[in-house]
Amino acid sequence: MADDPQRNFRSAYYEKVGFRGVEEKKSLEILLKDNPLDLEKLSTFSQRFPLPSMYRIHVWKVLLGVLPPHSDSHALVAGYRKEQYQDILEALEVMRYTNASTPSTHVYLRMFQLENQVLPRCSETSTPDEENEDFLSISRAMEEIVDDPVDCYWLIKSFVNQFHTKFGDSVPHLPKSLEHYLSQEEPRLLNHLKSCGALAQLPYSIWFRRCFAGCLPESSLQRVWDKVISGSCKILVFVALEILLSYKIMLMGITRPGGVVRFLCNIPQENTDAIVTKAIDSWHKYCGTPMHAV
């Protein structure tokens, strides 16, 4: 990317001096001009830099496979996606799974279930289980981020699918790695958590299964998801680590595991941006800045 003639030659220095994201928009535009789109480059970019919000949805769609790499067929594929969505939606309506009053997230859930052939009978619809709750919170977050319901549904679906297919195996190991990094960063806190027994009860499901949906505000969340979508689930560990470190004093003050969990489930929403920034930094620090596979 640095060799790209269309890029400002100063961009490398901007980064050195600490102005991050000055030239990213431009370089991203250059990337998006490619036909077909280079998914690897896109994902590397998204891992390295925060995505400009105006391109975020598009990039996500491409990375998640909602749109094909060939931009020529975008319109066609988008048409397909839309039709599919409408078909499913209509079918569900016809089958009275949903009606006008049903919240969109539930609609998405039903659609997702339908597509995965796990839609229970209308009569058998029960309270959503754990998995459904994860989906719902993710879709709630995504709904906030994305306006268009078609895109929203597709993104949710692709995100969840990709997450499960890609990181399904590594998610169970994330708590362990969190413990490891915590021991490196702040062993006292770890000891405290261990001693009060809260370590095992930390809200891992929120953090690692829902990817912090419902935990962080969407503005911060989308930056975390950039990384997740572009292929790294490690970021989740670092976000969790930073949350713990940021509220270390409060956590040290709480001795009961229940209190710890309660606090962590409802962390204050003020400085989550800073937490995320720090998390990305430490992620870069520990896992190294992803280089471009050119």
């Binding site: 060939h70 067929s73 078909d87 339908l114 597509e115 052939q117 009978r121």
Partner: protein, 1129 residues
């Protein structure tokens, strides 16, 4: 000390104490007081005291007064000047003070004292006062030369007044006073003429041009003018210039005095310095003669007149008086001798003193005639300078009176002794004074006894007495009277010698600077012998050695040595030197007058009167007064002369300094000359050595030159030889070249000949072989000839037909060959064209290949795109299928519900239809239609079963209807289903669609890749399908068993050909099909097809549709492959 403090004035009388110690103390106190106090009290007291008592101590203190008191002193004196009574002592005091030359003396011009002095001189009538004042003025004038500007005309007026005094006031005063006055006026004349010549001359001109003053001029001034030279200033200076203060700045006091003396022609007044001494050669004898004439020199005149007059006057006086007078005169004369160093005057004085000389023997010739021996000395003195006279004249004079009288000579010597003791031997002088005093007293006694005596006798007696005394004195000295004659004789001789040397020196070069030096030395040397005789034991060798040392420098050293020794000796002799001899002299005179007073008082009045009357003199008191004032005048004169002497001494010291410097310089000069000589000697030696060196150098140079020339010639020879060698060498080389060429040629020849030889050998062998051949050929020829003969014979036999045929054949062959050749050419051209074509085609091919590669790339791209799109549509299709499935399950559910209701409510299809219709919303009517159609589905499924069977059998034609049917059977997805259905084969068909050459090639090229892709795709889909199938199995199967169980009881309707109640068989078939199918299918299908089959089967009725689709696609693909395979194979 403390007791003196209250009033120092009380101490003043104590100054007269005889206790020396106390005197010192008191003087110390007074001086201390003066230095501490600034008031005028004490000073005034002192002055008053002096005026009262004439105390020497007070005078001493006053004359050494310091700076702040000068004003008081001068003021006080000014005050005293106004009083007639105090005027004389005041003037005396002033004279003392001035002669002391205090540092503040120049201020006197600013004080009124000077004015009052001048006024006094102009107005006073007392001669004594006037004389004293004039002397003071004369002394003062060089000290305040710049003051002349204001007071010049007053000085001149004073001069005029005093000069005419005698003529104006004839008989008013005594002759003695007149003499003194005249002398002082003469001095004043000299001083004024010396200091202010222009102004003075102009004054004289103006003043004496008047008739009334002519007499004075003739009488007084003119003689004076005869004794002065023309002053140089009269020529160069102006009136204003000589009054200019800057003119006087460079002069010291003694300079001025000497300047004044310089212009004088009078030997008594004139200076002996600076070039004037050369003149006296002729001049001095004249002067010398003049005294005898008693006309010219005022001094001589003065003295002669004075002597005459005095003696005449005193003829009547007592002899004691006379003697005292003589003593005084003697003392004066001595002083004169001391000051002028001129024994001429002294001698004259002696002459004058001698009554006999006064009586007519005043002329030298008479005296000369008396002693031829002395004549010589006299003439010698005439010829020599006045220095000669110093020793010569007195002797002569004495000898006049008493020829051969040793005593006089001794007396003379004694005088000289005194003179010489003056500067050095104070004590001796004091002793002499005492002696004199004694003599005087003796004389007094004698006179008293003898009564009348001739002056001559008395004088002689006095002299003899003196001589006697001297004898006693000289007895004590080594080299006593016995040697006196020797002295007498020797001394003048020495003097003469010295003088002659000096004269010679003078006559020799006449240098003024050297003259003073020489003169002073000659002067010294002239007197030194006497000194020498007096203080040391004189000896002839000593004298001789001295004269050997008569050279200036050596003499100075000698004198210095002597002086120091003398001083030392004197110190031994006398111990403390308390007062200066001059002071002592003053005191003596004073004391003499005192004693005289005493004696006078002792004398009885009658006798006194008798005495006076006897001599026919004036009143005794008057006489006494005259004598006193005369004494005073004498004292004054003495002091004045002493003052002049001091000035001379100062000058002498300075000149001495110069001499020393000059000698030092001379010495230096000599040293430098010596050095110069040495250096010149050095230079000469160096020059010589230089010459030697040059010579040597030249020689060496010549040697070198010769060697060089020799070497040059050698070089030349060698060069010539070398050139010869060169030429020879070249010649030799040329020759060698020629020889080489020759050699080459020879070699060539040899080679050539060798070659030729070879050729010849070859030819030879050839010729041999040819000879052999020849022989062989000859043999053959012979044989052929024979054969020919035979053939000709035969030919003759056979005939000539064959020849034509052969010719024809030959022709035809030739033509054939030609044709063949042409055809070959054409073939070659064709070949070339073909090759070109091949190359062209090959380039074309490569281009095509390139194009193909591009196409492939593009194809890949398009494939990817298509794949993505396909995936999208596939996912849509999947969704559709899911929807359909769901709808089916829903439908089934509804059916089951309907059926469950049907057994209860009666088996009416219509009812159910109605029910379904009633249950469904009105817009679901198409669905209702669909459901009506659905009974066909089992048939379709059957047919599909059939198709599968058919396909197994290889019939492909049935597949499309099968495909269409299920899609048609689903009315809901009708609008969408055909599209993908038609789309799918289209896209897939794009592979085989390119059946052209290119397409085939592409296929061939990408077979492997696409195959692998396909292979990848297949397992993927298969796996996905498997996963789906498993999922569906897991998820769906549990509810089905019951359902199956429910359905199972009705397998019969399936087999029934009637369109039996659709749901049941429809349901049954999918359920049963899988159960039935697995065993049959694996047998007929390839292993790859097995899994989808099974999946479809295991999927059950619900999964049938879903599994059907991929299978179809797969089938299509496989077909595709098969097709391609077929085509390929």
């Amino acid at each position: 000390m403390a007791r003196e403090q209250p009033n120092v004035g009380d101490l003043l009388p104590l100054l007269e104490t005889s206790d020396l110690h106390q005197l010192e103390e008191i003087r110390g106190v007074i001086n201390e007081h003066l230095s501490t106090e600034r008031g005028s009290m004490l000073l005034n007291g002192l002055v008053d005291y002096f005026l009262e008592t004439n105390s020497a101590q007070a005078m001493h203190i006053l004359s050494s007064v310091r700076e702040p008191h000068d004003k008081h002193l001068l003021d006080k004196m000014n005050e005293c000047m106004t009083k007639q009574a105090c005027r004389l002592p005041t003037l005396t005091l002033l004279g003392h003070v001035i002669r002391k030359q205090p540092s503040w003396i120049h201020k006197i011009a600013r004080y009124p004292l000077l004015l009052s002095l001048l006024k006094c001189l102009k107005t006073d009538t007392d001669v004594v006062v006037l004389i004293t004042g004039v002397l003071v003025l004369i002394t003062l004038l060089p000290m305040i030369p710049q003051a002349g500007k204001q007071h010049l005309w007053e000085y001149f007026d004073i001069f005029g007044r005093l000069a005419s005094w005698n003529l104006k006031n004839p008989g008013h005063i005594s002759e003695v006073y007149l003499i003194h006055l005249h002398a002082s006026v003469y001095s004043l004349f000299h001083r004024l003429y010396g200091m202010y010549p222009c102004n003075f001359v102009s004054y004289l001109r103006s003043h004496y041009s008047m008739k009334e003053n002519m007499e004075t001029f003739e009488e007084v001034v003119k003689p004076m003018l005869e004794h002065v030279r023309i002053h140089p200033e009269l020529v160069t200076g102006t009136k204003d210039h000589e009054l200019d203060p800057t003119r006087w700045k460079k002069y010291e006091i003694h300079d001025i005095v000497i300047e004044c003396a310089k212009v004088s022609l009078d030997p008594k007044e004139a200076s002996c310095e600076e070039g004037y001494a050369t003149m006296p050669e002729n001049f001095y004898p004249q002067i010398h003669l003049r005294p005898q004439d008693c006309t010219s020199s005022p001094y001589t005149d003065l003295h002669s007149s004075y002597g005459q007059k005095t003696l005449h006057t005193y003829q009547g006086c007592s002899i004691i008086e006379k003697k005292i007078l003589i003593m005084i005169v003697l003392v004066n004369t001595e002083i004169m001798i001391i000051q002028y160093h001129d024994s001429l005057s002294f001698g004259t004085m002696l002459q004058l003193l001698n009554p006999s000389s006064l009586c007519g023997m005043a002329t030298p010739p008479s005296s000369r005639g008396m002693s031829p021996n002395l004549e010589l000395s006299h003439s010698a003195s005439h010829l020599s300078s006045r220095f000669h006279c110093t020793s010569g004249q007195p002797l002569h004079c004495y000898n006049i009176f008493q020829p051969g009288c040793r005593c006089t000579v001794v007396q003379h010597t004694f005088r000289f002794k005194i003179h010489h003791n003056c500067p050095y031997v104070v004590s001796a002088a004091a002793a002499i004074t005492e002696e004199l005093l004694k003599i005087t007293e003796e004389q007094l006694e004698l006179s008293g006894l003898r009564g009348f005596d001739s002056p001559f006798y008395h004088t002689t007696e006095t002299l003899t007495g003196c001589q006697a005394q001297d004898k006693t004195l000289s007895n004590t000295q080594p080299g006593g009277p016995v040697r006196d004659p020797h002295h007498v004789v020797s001394t003048p001789d020495k003097g003469e010698t010295t003088a002659s040397t000096s004269d010679r020196g003078v006559a020799g070069d006449g240098r003024s600077s050297a003259l003073g030096l020489e003169q002073s030395w000659s002067f010294q040397s002239g007197f030194t012998p006497i000194d020498h005789h007096l203080h040391r034991s004189p000896s002839a060798p000593d004298d001789e050695s001295f004269f050997d040392l008569a050279l200036p420098r050596a003499a100075s050293l000698f004198v210095g040595q002597k002086t120091s020794e003398a001083v030392h000796k004197d110190g031994e002799e006398e111990g403390v030197a308390s007062a200066s001899p001059l002071e002592v002299l003053d005191r003596l005179v004073q004391q003499g007058s005192d004693t005289h007073d005493k004696v006078l008082k002792r004398l009885p009045l009658p006798s006194k009167s008798a005495d006076w009357t006897h001599f026919g003199g004036s009143a005794p008191l008057d006489e006494l007064h005259t004598l006193r004032s005369q004494l005073l005048l004498m004292h004054n004169q003495l002091l004045y002369e002493r003052y002049k002497r001091e000035q001379h001494a100062v000058r002498n010291r300075r000149l001495l300094r110069r001499i020393i410097n000059a000698t030092a310089l001379e010495e230096q000069n000599n040293a430098m000359k010596d050095q110069l000589n040495l250096q010149s000697v050095d230079i000469v030696s160096l020059r010589e050595s230089l010459q030697v060196e040059q010579q040597r150098y030249r020689q060496l140079w010549d040697d070198r030159e010769t060697v060089v020339t020799r070497l040059h010639s050698q070089i030349r020879q060698l060069q010539q030889g070398r050139d010869d060698y060169y030429t020879k060498n070249q010649e030799l080389q040329k020759r060698m070249d020629e020889l080489e060429a020759e050699l080459q040629r020879a070699n060539n020849k040899v080679c050539h000949t060798g070659h030729l030889l070879n050729q010849m050998a070859i030819k030879l062998s050839n010729s041999e072989s040819t000879q052999q051949q020849m022989s062989f050929l000859n043999k053959q020829l012979l044989l052929l000839g024979e054969a020919h003969k035979l053939s000709t014979q035969e030919l003759h036999h056979t005939g000539a037909d064959n020849a034509k045929e052969a010719q024809m054949l030959k022709l035809s062959y030739g033509k054939e060959v030609e044709m063949l050749r042409q055809s070959l050419l054409v073939q070659g051209q064709k070949l070339e064209a073909a090759q070109q074509r091949v190359a062209e085609l090959e380039t074309h091919l490569s281009k095509k290949e390139h194009l193909i590669a591009e196409q492939k790339k593009f194809l890949e791209d398009v494939k990817c795109q298509a794949k993505a799109e396909l995936q999208a549509s596939d996912s849509r299709y999947q969704a559709q299928r899911r929807i359909t499935q769901l709808l089916q399950t829903e439908l089934l559910q509804l059916y089951s519900r309907v059926e469950m209701e049907a057994p209860a409510n009666g088996q009416s299809q219509l009812h159910t239809d109605v029910e379904v219709d009633s249950r469904l919303p009105p817009h679901d009517s198409p669905r209702g239609n669909g459901s009506t159609l659905s009974p066909r589905q089992p048939k379709g499924s059957n047919s599909s079963k059939k198709t599968t069977a058919n396909s197994i059998n290889g019939s492909q034609d049935l597949a499309p209807p099968l495909l269409v049917e299920p899609s048609l059977s689903c009315p809901y997805g009708n609008s969408l289903a055909p599209l993908p259905a038609s789309d799918a084969p289209l896209t897939v068909g794009s592979y085989p669609s390119a059946k052209s050459f290119l397409g085939m090639r592409a296929r061939e090229l990408f077979r492997n890749k696409s195959e692998s892709q396909c292979d990848e795709d297949q397992p993927q889909t298969r796996l996905a399908g498997l996963a789906h199938g498993l999922k569906t199995e897991l998820c769906v199967e549990p509810p089905y068993p019951g359902y199956i169980g429910i359905v199972c009881p009705a397998p019969s309707p399936v087999s029934t050909p009637l369109p039996a109640p659709a749901p049941a068989p429809a349901h049954a078939t999918p359920l049963t099909v899988p159960t039935k199918e697995p065993p049959s299918e694996p047998k007929q299908r390839a292993s790859s097809q097995e899994s989808p089959r099974r999946k479809a089967g295991s999927g059950g009725g619900r999964g049938q549709a879903s599994s059907g689709r991929p299978r179809q696609q797969q089938q299509l693909k496989i077909m595709d492959y098969n097709e391609t395979h077929h085509e390929h194979s």
